[in-house]
């Protein structure tokens, strides 16, 4: 394992426009190639922390650094390029309901302008990995919540990101499937991908034997 720091939080505060304080003085260092779990009660700020890394939100105070560079220094036009290196798995998977499973998963590859034949190969591989190889032609509304979540996972990993940020990726899955998905993440981690997973499934998290970060809800 390399000890290079990839993500660093320096005295990060996040207050939403509503006045809700979601994160208070978070300091945190994550090494490149690490797999780490973020736990904490509902409302503790797990989703907020992941969104700050993906630049889906900006901190109210403090800095989030990637490879030693504060994200606040990134120019607007560099943001899309940065996001493409991240596979983000949303708590609510944000699928497009007028496109079938295949087309949903293909989106990141289309954005990077990959030729159609490569896209087919990669998408099918990603869908096989999450056990949806037979549902490529289905539409999201025809799927169960767990299947939809797995489509979101396939979409996040299809572009071979260097960093996977997963927000409750196993929330709607049965224990066996949840275990499988965690192993898939572990496989990505084995080939050097940095993986951050927010989860409140304590049993599952502890079985993975990785570093665990516990967020406490901000009490005023």
């Amino acid at each position: 394992m390399t000890t290079k720091t990839i993500i660093e939080f320096r005295q990060v505060h996040k207050r939403y426009p509503t006045g809700q304080l979601a994160l208070y003085n978070v300091n945190l260092t994550i090494h490149a190639g690490e797999m780490i779990f973020i736990t904490g009660n509902s409302g503790a700020g797990k989703s907020t922390l992941l969104k700050l890394i993906a630049l889906l939100e900006n901190p109210s105070k403090g800095d989030v650094l990637i490879d030693g560079t504060p994200l606040s220094h990134l120019q607007a036009r560099q943001i899309p390029n940065y996001r493409r290196r991240i596979g983000f798995i949303f708590q609510d998977p944000h699928l497009l309901y007028d496109r079938n499973v295949f087309d949903n998963v293909a989106m990141p590859l289309l954005i990077s302008g990959m030729p159609a034949t490569d896209i087919t190969r990669r998408v099918n591989a990603a869908l096989d990995k999450v056990g949806l190889g037979k549902k490529t032609k289905s539409y999201p509304l025809m799927l169960s919540a767990g299947e939809r979540q797995r489509v979101g996972i396939a979409r996040a990993v299809v572009n071979r990101p260097t960093m996977i940020l997963a927000d409750e990726p196993t929330g709607n899955l049965d224990p066996e499937l949840a275990q499988d998905i965690m192993h898939t993440f572990a496989q990505f981690n084995d080939i050097g991908v940095t993986v951050l997973i927010a989860s409140h499934d304590h049993g599952l998290v502890e079985r993975m034997k990785k570093r665990i970060l516990v967020l406490q809800r901000v009490e005023l």
């Binding site: 390399t2 990839i6 490149a32 190639g33 969104k51 993906a54 630049l55 889906l56 939100e57 990637i66 490879d67 560079t69 994200l71 990134l74 607007a76 036009r77 560099q78 899309p80 390029n81 940065y82 996001r83 493409r84 290196r85 991240i86 983000f88 949303f90 944000h94 699928l95 497009l96 309901y97 989106m107 990141p108 289309l110 954005i111 990077s112 302008g113 990959m114 030729p115 159609a116 979409r155 260097t162 960093m163 080939i191 050097g192």
Partner: protein
Amino acid sequence: MTEKRPLAKPRPATSNNFGRKSRVWLNQQKQAIDFSLKRLWFNPISAWITLIAIALALSLPTSMHVLVKNLQSLTHNNQSVPTISLFLKPKVTEQQANDLAELVKSQPEVLSTTVVTRDQALQDFNKISGLADTLKTLGENPLPNIVVITPKMNDLGVTDADLEDFSKRLKTYKEVEDVQIDIEWIQRLRAILQIAERIVAVVAALLATTVLLVVGNTIRLDIENRKDEIRVTRLIGATNRYIRRPFLYGGLWLGLFGGFLSLLVVNIALLFLVDPVNKLSMLYGSDFNLGGIDLTTTLEVLTVSAGLGLVGAWLAVNRYLWESEVIND
């Protein structure tokens, strides 16, 4: 131990970086073209309504333009239009008439001259009127020799004063009895056409704005319907340029196909006109023919309409992107 790319920096340049980039660009263009055409195809009702609105808006200035061009062709040199006739005095001989024709031809305003002898004139008159018998009763041919002048319309200027001046000069020849000018109407027509051209320009500008608004609104509705999609693609790293592209193509197609449709409409309208107009011009002994839309005009209309579609889409998308710059999950 695995080598990792820096996150916030572009991938390192390789020798075939340019080739890779242009291939990516091509793939993205192809994708956007595919996608935008499919959207047109699968939303036929809204697409057709927009296309017809564009076609109607464009066909008015296009048909006016064609009409003005046709009328303008009447005032050009090469059209055998009515001319200036010099009626010569009765005692002037054919030889003298020919000499005069030569002389007049050397004037800068004159394109060509022909002599119509009194015998020819009589024959023509007979042919047209069938009054040969009546004329025979006169015993002698009463018609004079005539020099017919085809002027250079462009050099003669457009003012009545020029024409007056020219006719006065012609009258000074001693052989000339009378000058009959048949070109005043052309000059009037020219003046009218100049005004008409202005009107066409104004109408074209107004209707171009209409096209811009129609396309802009269609694209805006399309964006409205696809807000989710735009948001999600943005979340997974789409650039503004990527998001914009299919909409721009969408606008381009609307403009281009709308332009095609308007050409079709104008051509059909012209078909209705061709027969009666040509009959009319035959009755006047003119070889004027109603011209259709030539290649230049066709290309002009298509370029302008495609351009308007593109600009309309551009305005709509940019307004949206500008408004939604703050990204919230």
